[in-house]
């Protein structure tokens, strides 16, 4: 909100501007949710609890910020959950083989990059819908994981590696620090660079983007590489958190991530979305889960609530779009 006051054609108060920015329409219910949960059970505001929520959110958020690129660019990536497992398993196997930790981490991320590169090339060069390519990849990558592990967990992993998922730096979980750094980076790339602008253009209208001199193939490939890398990294962090790489890690992650993005106002139709929105969306889901525990509501209701919120969030988004696009 660093827009200069009295700038060109800016009108209305802070709240109105906020609610008109569709991606942040969720901000108001988000604050409300925090207040309600906090009032019902003040334990919510304990530092430990907050750090716990942040840590849980971080895993989803790291993939979520990459998924924001994918969705804004008009695509979809269903393979993230399987790539997560693959990244963890590759890193885990490397560690068991005695490779230094930083190289193992790099290999885990690299596995994601390779898959992303493949997804991106197939989507952009062969023009196969991303839904189909990444659905196939979701099965394929999971299969690779199962072949590599025969279904067995990969452990024990070195303590120093596990620090990445379990440790704290200056009282803050390492995972949260990683997520924060990546989040800021992603936000800057998406809003301040030519690449970010190209992603928005691509998702809004591919043909116009191409005719305006944007290298749409390269932009598309990078989108999926980013998403693969983020998934691989999250896999490494998840393995570190659990002190073992599991072959079924990240099952269902793709839908959880997409749900977070959508709740955060990122459009399924491409061309709009924000990292900040995704952060709020992901946190929203985790606070609901956390809040329901704190409020002693059965966890069995959790999915129902999240489902209802997704539908509401998309409903609000559609309503806003309709209202804004009406003049003419």
């Amino acid at each position: 909100m660093s827009e200069k006051a009295g700038g060109i054609g800016k009108r209305g108060g802070f709240w109105r501007r906020l609610s008109e920015k569709s991606e942040l329409g969720i901000a108001v219910p988000f604050v409300l949710l925090i207040v309600i949960v906090g009032i019902v059970n003040p334990v919510f505001f304990d530092v430990d609890n907050i750090l716990n929520v942040l840590r849980q959110s971080s895993f989803t958020f790291i993939i979520g910020l990459a998924m924001t690129f994918v969705l804004v660019g008009g695509g979809l990536d269903l393979s993230v959950g399987s790539v997560l497992a693959l990244g963890g398993v590759i890193a885990g196997l490397a560690l068991l083989g005695g490779v230094p930790i930083w190289i193992a981490v790099l290999l885990g991320v690299l596995a994601g990059v390779v898959i992303g590169l493949f997804n991106g090339i197939v989507v952009s060069v062969f023009k196969i819908p991303s839904l189909i390519v990444t659905l196939g990849m979701m099965y394929f990558a999971r299969g690779v994981v199962q072949v590599l592990t025969r279904g067995n967990p990969v452990y024990p992993l070195p303590e120093a590696f596990n620090f990445l998922g379990q440790g704290f730096l200056a009282g803050v979980p390492v995972v949260v620090i990683v997520a924060a750094v990546l989040g800021i980076f992603a936000h800057v790339v998406l809003t301040q660079t030519a690449y970010g602008r190209a992603v928005f253009a691509l998702g809004g209208n591919r043909e116009t983007a191409r005719l305006s001199g944007i290298n749409v193939q390269r932009v598309t490939i990078w989108i999926y590489v980013i998403c693969g890398a983020a998934s691989g990294l999250t896999g490494v962090l998840t393995a570190a958190r659990l002190a073992s790489a599991l072959s079924n890690a990240g099952t269902g992650m793709e839908l959880q991530v997409i749900a977070g993005c959508i709740i955060g106002g990122t459009s399924m139709f491409g061309g709009s979305g924000s990292i900040l929105g995704t952060l709020i969306g992901v946190a929203f889901m985790n606070i609901i889960a956390n809040g329901m525990v704190l409020m002693r509501i059965s966890v069995y209701y959790q999915s129902m609530v999240i489902g209802a919120i997704i539908i509401m969030a998309v409903g609000i988004d559609q309503y806003n779009r309709k209202r804004r696009g009406m003049i003419g």
């Binding site: 060109i8 054609g9 660079t193 030519a194 602008r197 253009a201 983007a209 005719l211 696009g325 003049i327």
Partner: protein
Amino acid sequence: MDQVVLRMKGISKRFYAVIALREVSLDLRRGEVHALVGENGAGKSTLMKILSGSYPSASFEGEVEIEGEAVAFTSTYDAERAGIEMIYQEISLNPELSVAENIFLGKLPRRRLPWFIDWKRTHALAREALAQVGLEVGTTQAVRLLSTSQQQMISIAKALYRRPRILVLDEPTSALTDRETETLMRILHSLRAQGISCIYISHKLEEVFNIADRITVLRDGSVISTTPRQEVVAARVVEDMVGRKIEMMYPKVQLPVGQEVLRVEGLTVPSRVPGRNIVENLSFDLKAGEILGLGGLVGSGRSEVVNAIFGSHRRSAGRFFLDGKPVALSSPRDAIRCRMGLLTEDRRVSGFVGTMSIRENVSLASFRKIFGPLFIRRKTERWEVQELSGQLNIKTPSIETNVLNLSGGNQQKVVLAKWLMTDVRILFLDEPTRGIDVGAKVEVYNLMTELARKGVAIVMISSELPELLAMCDRFIVLYGGAIRGSFQREEITEHKFMSAATGVL
């Protein structure tokens, strides 16, 4: 004849701060064709969306009466039940369904057991409906396979079948061929005899003067005048529309032509049918400050020529020389690097990005300018776009406004601004004035002249012969993908042009 079927009284509608309609009143008599004209953004569509129930009665001020009774539509369904049918400029058929299914969509004839469809009767009735509009297509054919004009005729057949009391036609002829337009005019005459009333929206004033009983001009959301046909003066209507006297429709200034900037040799564009070409072995040159008219009928390969040069359409052969030096143009990126720009035929499909603001759309092709080594230069971007927006007179509260909120003419100016921001030397304009209002057209012509003065070379494609002849210095007329005639401005006549375009010459 004088009985009033529809009366809209004191209709006002606003979108946030923008007033779309201000105290508009309109009445429609039985059996009357009432034309509604005005620039894009004048409020015609908004008014019709109120009539069709797209804007529910709570969202605007004023009253709508049908046959003297006040009505309050809450949805388009209510309006349909009241006997109002709409035919839109953009075709709203389901492309995957058959012709018959489209005509009867939602009202398919049933058998005695009402959950079974009586297909035999459906097709028989569909044939009748098609006969009424003189269209000869199979009723089982998928609409997707038909031409745009055939689809438009089906929309008309569909609306007529529902026996409306009031028929609203929004730019119905923009997709029709001349013959079909004639058929439509005949149909409208016969509707008049049947006592069906029509509201007819069109940019083509000739058509309006031909068919309308009364003409209402809207401007900036207000009714400027309502005139019976007998008293209509064409010049007055145009003046009412734009609110100023149009001294000169085509502000053509003859300018000295400079050096050759682009030469095209042996351009060949393959067709989807193997072994055939849309454009064959085409060569021409283009000079600085020149406006070259690329003429021909639809399908002659005009659009393909410019798209193939720009790298946005496949080509199988062709060499290009920029300032006499050979250049490789294999993608729009290359073309933009050579300071070329292409305004495409359909701005919605390939001109602007609907999810972006004016600012983002205008700077879309100028990343080199607005992005530093890493980050965006916000001030540069805002300042440059603001400047262009003012220069092109884009009517908007702010450059942060979404392009979709602009009228067609202003959207077109946004696309033009995008190319101006790249400092184009060669500009391809494919139907630059399609679907924009008179005022915006004149602004586009002015801009073209201004650019030519600065030495920009322009290739213009237009289906509107008068504007093409008036604006260009030189003409190349295509027929079947090859040059059939080339003329200088001094020697061209409509007759010569059409002879070449139809292959008679």
